[in-house]
């Protein structure tokens, strides 16, 4: 069944309609599936509470390690399963190129802002959905950043990113031993996730709503 919506015009509403239309026709899952992926993504982030300021800003002060533990675990498990899915033809590589300048300058700006805002572009919207006005102000700053990046892309930002050194993958350096490399990589990353000592910074504003016996800060580590 083909749904074709006529969405011409360049006012804001038609452009948002064009966004949906684009997703329907670009062949990366149905509109409903893409929306559902978002719902699950937002649900996981909210339910694990990693959208809270105390999680990422807390990590920058080394007073909370939930975010790196969760990230490393997700990467470790996914890397092994994904490699065999790709071999079976059930998935494809989508590698980003190595552009040293872009990665280092971009990573530095990103790291500074992540520590100060206490969010990343994935967790930010989830905490806005939870009612955090300060993050909404951050998102307005982000939109302005996106505007500046788009307008000065050709003249300034693209040259700043530098030349691509290729879409390199770890396994390329170990020809003939791909399976061993994947397994070692996945297991080591998973072990890092488990080995990072678990420390948590809690938010009294959330905890005070709980009865004493349910407070995670008063419970012995379960």
């Amino acid at each position: 069944m083909d749904i074709i919506v006529k969405t011409q015009g360049d006012d804001m509403l038609s452009r948002i309609a064009q966004m949906f239309e684009d997703v329907i026709h670009q062949g990366h899952g149905s509109l409903a599936l893409v929306f559902l992926i978002g719902v699950i993504f937002g649900g996981i982030i909210q339910y694990t509470r990693v959208d809270k300021f105390e999680k990422i800003a807390g990590f920058s002060m080394l007073k909370d390690t939930i975010v790196p533990k969760m990230l490393f675990l997700a990467v470790g498990l996914t890397s092994i399963a994904l490699y065999f899915m790709i071999e079976a033809g059930w998935a494809h590589y989508h590698i980003k190129p190595v552009m040293w300048q872009g990665l280092i300058i971009g990573g530095t700006l990103f790291g500074i802002s992540m520590a100060i805002l206490g969010k990343c572009p994935g967790t930010g919207p989830v905490s806005i959905a939870e009612g955090r006005i300060d993050v909404l102000v951050g998102a307005i700053g982000g939109l302005l950043g996106g505007y500046v990046f788009t307008v000065y892309y050709d003249d300034f930002f693209k040259p700043l990113m530098g030349e691509s050194a290729g879409k390199l993958v770890l396994t390329e350096f170990f020809k003939g031993h791909e399976h061993t490399v994947v397994l070692v990589y996945g297991i080591v990353i998973t072990l890092i996730a488990i080995a990072i000592p678990k420390v948590e910074m809690f938010d009294e504003a959330d905890l005070c709503k709980l009865p004493d016996e349910e407070r995670p800060d008063k419970k012995q580590d379960a």
Partner: protein, 167 residues
Amino acid sequence: MSRLPWWMGGILMSLLLLLTFSVFGADRPIGASTYVPYFAGIIFDLDPEKYSYLKEIENPGAWEGVMLFGALFGGFVTSIFITKSFRFSLIPTGWKKYKNNSVVSRLLWSFFSGFIMIIGARLAGGCTSGHFMSGMSQMAISSMIFGGVVLVVVIVTGRLFYNVKEK
């Protein structure tokens, strides 16, 4: 306010990544920063024919835009019914404890960090989702470089920016 443990979050996130990567799902990685310039293009009414960057991100921007609507919805519903953490607030408790009590200071820093966050993510070609999660799962060297730089800079910034000793 209930919450999932970190290992459960990691396992669920891994399953979601695999679903998104698979040809039965979306056959692409999860990303969460391309939608920002995409929406900036719509809000500031930039003509996609005129700006090469908008042309470049047309498809991924739209995809992530729809995913973002889903994430807002999923986050909102979860915060109302499951974590019961929905409330309006202007300043996080942790900011009061380790930085200051000024709402103006928090909002100015939020605006500034939001601005450089998107410039940084777009310069690097990805963020925590696109580089750290999706990229490192594919063993991409670019994502390991990004992940390493971000980890170090986050910890250094935290040391310098916050009064790490409790007030």
